[in-house]
């Protein structure tokens, strides 16, 4: 009962938190579990089997959706991260910049609007200007709503970095470009990386906009999964879900490890 005297502790929080983490992971666990069930009816367990993974991997529609998603996400990530990096450098490091606050709001605008509104608005725009290419439509829209996600970690990193390092580099005869390449860029890299990962994730995960804009040949993974769900739950879907869960796990671990390492080298 010694702990009762620790005023910072509130009783019962441990139990609530344990329940919370079970709540967070149990649903995913059930999907994973069901994916190994040989029975076509997902909840009736017959025996352990990998067969739905085989059929998922042989599903050409799934593979084409995956390819579309990866392509769109890769291009959108590069565009969003580049645009966000330039904007963050200008807003945080630029001298005599007017409309700094307005520019920041502009970059973050997609976060402030409900995505469905943006999705239908872009749909109308693209149909008005007669843009037909599904891939181009997806890339433009994804770049736009991924930009703030790339921007925020980069900005945070730049803002947390004192000007001293860049000034010291300039003082030691480094030109603008050398300062950027040898000092600014390596020091903000964790933020840049986190921003890019976040942008990639948001693009891969997007359903609302992609569902509005994608057409026959350019179905993204979430849109395809949606159509599968609509057709009814199936063990193959569980296998797909499990593979995606594992992929996210790997991606998240890599991303957070890199970001974490960046934080350690800061300990000056």
């Amino acid at each position: 009962m010694k702990l009762q005297h620790d005023v910072k502790r509130y009783p019962g929080l441990g139990i609530i938190s344990t329940v919370f983490f079970i709540y967070l992971y149990a649903p995913l666990g059930i999907v994973v579990l069901y994916s190994f069930n040989a029975n076509r009816i997902t909840s009736v367990w017959t025996e352990f089997s990998f067969k739905w993974y085989g059929s998922a991997l042989n599903n050409s529609a799934l593979m084409s959706a995956l390819k579309t998603s990866l392509t769109v996400a890769a291009i959108a990530t590069v565009m969003a991260t580049t645009i966000a990096l330039l904007a963050a450098l200008s807003i945080i490091r630029g001298k005599n910049v007017r409309y700094r606050k307005l520019s920041e709001t502009m970059v973050n605008l997609p976060l402030l609007l409900p995505e469905i509104v943006l999705a239908v608005a872009t749909l109308i725009l693209f149909s008005l200007i007669g843009l037909q290419n599904g891939m181009v439509k997806l890339v433009i829209a994804h770049s736009a709503f991924c930009t703030p996600f790339a921007f925020l970690p980069i900005r945070a990193r730049l803002q947390g970095m004192p000007l001293d390092f860049e000034e010291a580099a300039t003082d030691l005869y480094a030109s603008r470009w050398i300062v950027f390449r040898r000092v600014t860029l390596p020091l903000i890299f964790p933020g840049l990386f986190a921003g890019a990962m976040l942008a990639f994730l948001i693009s891969m995960d997007d359903f609302i906009t992609s569902n509005m804009l994608s057409s026959g040949g350019t179905t993204t993974l979430p849109v395809y999964i949606f159509s599968l769900i609509r057709a009814g739950t199936s063990p193959e879907l569980n296998a797909i879900a499990t593979m995606l869960i594992v992929a996210s796990l790997v991606l998240a671990t890599v991303a957070l490890t890199v970001a974490g390492r960046g934080q350690r080298t800061d300990a000056t």
Partner: protein, 305 residues
């Protein structure tokens, strides 16, 4: 412009200092103007347009998109009040608010508990909270379809204890709510955790030293000081919850719509663009109202402190 400015512009060093940031900002502005501002302006115009004969719309100024939210035009042109869309709007407000509140009630104790854990354990727990956010949102909703669905584990459990067959947990507001809380909760825990972690522990000790009990300390010290985290978590949950599409579509079935799924329906089948645009405008206005209200509040608090 004065002579002095003109003179400064002559030296190459100063000119570069002034212009580079604007070059850097140009792509962001161009992208946002093209992919956001213009589309929003167009959708405002479309909400006042006339429904086209074969889907789509014809330009014009017409309030029928908005009128349709409340009234149905009868055969003879008389206006008849129909509450079905109003109910959808009210359901949206209710579900988004309840989602935000439930997330908050869950997030505060969990975030507080995590913040009190020793170093390494703490970072692992934060990682565990973040992880679901990295997983596909549609799959997280899907997981709840399995749990609550026909033949799902929950139903099995209740049937085992004698629940009538044919009972279902799906296709109602409760199911939508369960999926919404589940998908958005990490967005609440993280900012609340960040502000609790920043909280100086000696403040809690000081509150107890000055005869405050745990409840008083929570109410008068911890919660006020974590208000910024709670506010930003609230925005992060409320905005997407208000525009939710997936949850009502999958969990609520076709009937229990929210504004997001209603808008999607109007554009999905090319059914009624001006009406969809009008609903989208209402949705955007309501979100803006909440955001501006919060911004004003926090601005006032800053002035006060």
């Amino acid at each position: 412009m004065s002579e002095a400015t003109a003179h400064h512009a002559d030296t190459p060093r100063r000119r570069r200092q002034i212009n580079l940031p604007y070059v850097g900002l140009a792509p962001a502005w161009l992208l946002m103007i093209f992919a956001l501002i213009i589309p929003i302006l167009i959708i405002i115009a479309v909400s006042f347009a006339v429904r086209g004969a074969y889907g789509g719309f014809d330009w014009g100024f017409d309030l029928s998109g908005y009128r349709q939210i409340l009234f149905n035009e009868g055969w003879t042109g008389e206006m008849e009040f129909t509450p079905q869309y109003l109910i959808i709007i009210l359901r949206t407000i209710l579900l988004a608010t309840v989602t935000t509140v439930l997330c908050l009630i869950l997030a505060v104790p969990v975030a507080y508990w995590i913040a009190g854990q020793p170093g390494h354990r703490k970072s692992v727990l934060v990682f565990l909270v973040t992880l679901p956010f990295w997983m596909s949102m549609i799959l997280r909703v899907y997981a709840w379809m399995i749990i609550l669905g026909k033949d799902g584990p929950l139903l099995r459990f209740f049937e085992f204890f004698g629940a009538p067959s044919g009972m279902t947990f799906m296709y109602n507001d409760g199911a939508t709510l369960a999926a919404m809380v589940y998908t958005y909760i990490p967005l609440m825990v993280l900012p609340v955790f960040a502000s609790i972690e920043k909280l100086d522990g000696t403040l809690i000790e000081a509150a107890h030293d000055l005869y405050g009990n745990r409840w008083t300390t929570l109410r008068r010290v911890i919660l006020p000081l974590t208000a910024p985290g709670i506010a930003s978590g609230g925005i992060l949950v409320f905005v997407p919850a208000f525009g939710a599409v997936l949850e009502p579509t999958l969990m609520g079935g076709g009937k229990q719509m929210m504004m997001g799924s209603l808008i999607q329906l109007q554009f999905g089948g090319g059914r009624n663009w001006p009406f969809g645009a009008a609903i989208a405008m209402i949705l955007m206005m309501l979100v803006m109202l909440v955001l501006v209200g919060l911004a004003l509040r926090s601005a006032r608090n800053e002035v006060e402190s």
